[in-house]
Every structure is written in structure tokens, then in C-alpha cells.
Subunit: 248 residues, 2 copies
Amino acid sequence: MLKESAPTAPHECADCPIRHRAVCARCESDELELLDQIKYYRSFEAGQTLIWSGDPMDFVGSVVTGIASLTQTMEDGRTQMVGLLLPSDFVGRPGRDSAAYDVVATTNIVMCCFRKKPFEEMMVRTPHIAQRLLEMTLDELDAAREWMLVLGRKTAREKIASLIAIIARRDAALNMAGMRGPLTVDLPLTREAMADYLGLTLETVSRQVSALKKDGVIGLEGKRRVTIADFNRLLDEAGDDSDGGMLA
Amino acid sequence: MLKESAPTAPHECADCPIRHRAVCARCESDELELLDQIKYYRSFEAGQTLIWSGDPMDFVGSVVTGIASLTQTMEDGRTQMVGLLLPSDFVGRPGRDSAAYDVVATTNIVMCCFRKKPFEEMMVRTPHIAQRLLEMTLDELDAAREWMLVLGRKTAREKIASLIAIIARRDAALNMAGMRGPLTVDLPLTREAMADYLGLTLETVSRQVSALKKDGVIGLEGKRRVTIADFNRLLDEAGDDSDGGMLA
DNA sequence: TTGAAGCCTTGACCCAGATCAAAATACGAA
DNA sequence: TTCGTATTTTGATCTGGGTCAAGGCTTCAA
């Protein structure tokens, strides 16, 4: 929550990288100006906990760059990631005043924050914001439900393949890149974070990643960079309908 | 999708059992009248599939009485429940025209349906509806995230205890009943449905239910009725912070 | 260049829960 | 009352992934 570092690079909304996907996506320029008055940027370093579960929350905001994760921890230390926050994702819940989950920066991260109170007031007056937030929340709910299938019914190998496919898809959606032919994806998660995402141990993650590589489903450049020669092959390994839609 | 039976008992909104919890909860009486013009009731029998994943959806609606489940199925038949729809829960997604999941009636069920197109138009003009839907969707997202922890990190025994606790809580919330002392809950799910909810096999469910009974955590009246002598004991078995809030 | 701290991999072993099989119980319909 | 089907329980056995343990590989600081 403290110890912010990297200078908070202030943007103009006009050239904001998440302008057309974030909670402000549908706003007209006059609405954007109002938002501009209550927004501020904050930067955090990889590894920092931005928000502790149970803490009072006095802001909400969007991830501008970088990745963060939402996690839940049991008393005995078992942890489960319940959200993976990529650029344009929204953090916090209007109308709730304490955080329900830990939010941890996985990479260095820049957030566009709004003080909660003014944001809530603005939501009432600006239907475009509430509309977009509803749409984003419904998308998150769909993602959560896909994730439940992964957690409840897939094998370790399928889980790893699913995770890589999910990240590749979101990556492509953000970069507007096509999805044909071989593509390369940055997997910005440690083995432990992947394990927390998938309900596995880090050893099992390591073994299955190696196995997928040995079987030629993926290639590795270093530890974190994955190349996918044949996306449909990957979907097949993930146990997904391999015809299903290319983008989200 | 067809074969509706039990006479569609039409209600007045005024004495509708979910009036103050459903998507219409915040509507004023004039808004309710508008909704009334586009609503109709449908009844389904236990076991019927109301909606098939991929089917076109021309309506959305609320569960009035009974229980339904949202499930996802893989090609090889593995299935995972991804939503448990109790009275007042909303079915369907405005803006989407084909169903993403199978919806199956677990018990006999009555739904209050709205034709999708008019409902969407009304949502734009009636902020109370969109507001309430956002609130409900955020609640569902929270529930989905709690569920992810259950699926990813809990043992079979903890999963069963969690499921019973979740149903008891929702039950209490709906009936406005307090939660002190011994309480009795109807578990309206077959062992197989519980297994699909929890990512287990039905044999494991059966064994763990028996074990919880043997250990005095729960009592059984028949197969489906559960008595809970000490709710905190149950939460403890579920691996939850046993102090945490009583209601949702 | 040598440590030290983080990550990641690999191996050996074990166990919670899956699988396979059969029997017991419940419940309508005829 | 009896048969037929669906549901549940219980037992025996198997196995995927967890646990424990040991090294290896990077990176960065001294």
C-alpha cells in the first residue's frame, strides 16, 4: 500500500493505451474531462502488495500497464489466485468499502485511480460508465466460469495448456494481433503464481511445462517466453473445443 | 426448451416472493408497470434442460421459485457446475444472443421472463434496472471467486462442508431467518449434482457426507435434509475464517 | 569471483480421491 | 404388491498429483 516508486508517469486520456477498453471506454470527451479531474496515477513495483484483503478501500481504478493478481489465502497459507488483472482491467468494487482480496503486483504496474466517493457519484450521473462497468463485470464472470471448469475438471497438463491459451488470447486481443501461424507470448508469471492460478503445486507446474515442451506443443525461450507453433494443437491439449472463437 | 408443464402460476409483482431481491428490486411502481407489460411466467419440471449452451436466447429472466444450475460440459463428458441459481437469481446476459451454458432445472421451477429485446431497451431507459443488475453481477462474481478457492485448494471434506455452509447462508438470507442455534437446510441436489458443483466424483461426495455425519458435524433427515447443530463448527470444517460475517 | 537469494528442475515416495464393481435403498407406476 | 429405474452407499484397488529433498541456474551485490 505504501512505498510507491517509479515516477507516476501522467498520461493524457487521449493517448492512453487502455482508452478504448477500460471502464472509461464509452465516455464522450466531456465525460472524460470530468473523470480527468478525479483521476491520479500510481505506480508500484513487481512484488508489492497494492491492497490487503480487509483493508479499507478509498479508491477504485484501472490497470494501465503491467499485471497484478487477485488472491485469496486460507489461514494455513493455502492460496488461490481468483483474478488475473491485465491492462484495462478494473480494480475495486463501487459501493464496497473494504477490499475482499489481496491485490499483488506481478510486474511493475501503473494504475489510473479514482477516489471512490467521487467516482461513485459520477457513476450515478454518467450511465456510460455504469454500462461499461456492467459489461466488463459480465466478461469477468464468464472468465471466472471458464476458470472454474479448469480448476474443477481438468488434468494438470490441460490446466497448463489452458493457462497459456488464455494468456495468448488476451494478449492478442489487447495487441489487436491476429492469431494465425506461430506466435510468441510472454508468460509474466512465476511457476508459483501459475500454481496458485491453477490449483496445483509449483513442482507439478514445472513438470507439465517441461512435458508440453518435450512433446512439441510449446517452445520455450528462456523461462518465461513461450512460442506456440499451432494454436489449435494447444487448444486441443487444453481440452477445449478447438474450433471455438479466436478472440474474446 | 419445450415441454413446459405445471400451470404457469401468474403473479402480481406486488406479492412476488422475490420482489425485493431480483433484478427489479429497485424499481418504482411505474417502472414495475412497464416491466409487467413485457413479462411472462414459465414453469419447468425438475430435470428439464431450460436452455442449451449455444442456443439462441430470446429472453432473460429471474428464478421465482425452485433451483436451477448452470453447467459446462467438455467433449468427453466431464461436467462442471458454474452457477447455482436460487430464487431471485438472474438468467441470461443482456447483449448476448446465444447461451453460454446449459441451464438445467434441479427442482420444479418457475421463472419470470422478459423478452430480451424489450428488456434491453428498457435497461437503457431505466437506470434502476441496470444498477441492480450490476450489483447482482458483482455479487455473483464474488461468489464465483469464493467457489474458485473451494475448487482449487480445498480437500473433499472441506468442499462438502463449504457447499452446505453456502446453501445454508443463502437460504437464511432469502428467508430472513437468523442463524443462531441448530438450523435445518434442504439440500436440493443429488450426490451427482454436488459432485459437479465441487469437482469431485459422486462416490467421494457420498463418503464425505457420511463422514461429516459420523463426526457429528451435520445430521441427516432422509437423504436431502441436513441439520446443522453448530454453524461455526461447520465453517471450521470448511476451512473458512469461522468468525467471518453471518450473512451475504 | 564469490556469495546469497530467488527461481526452477528433477527424483523418490506417498496418499487423497478416482475408478471399477456390487449391493442397498428409495420411489413411482402399473 | 411388485417391478423398474434412479439414487446412494460401500468396498477394493489404482493413480495423478502432492510432498519431501536435493541440486542447478540466474542475477545482483560485495
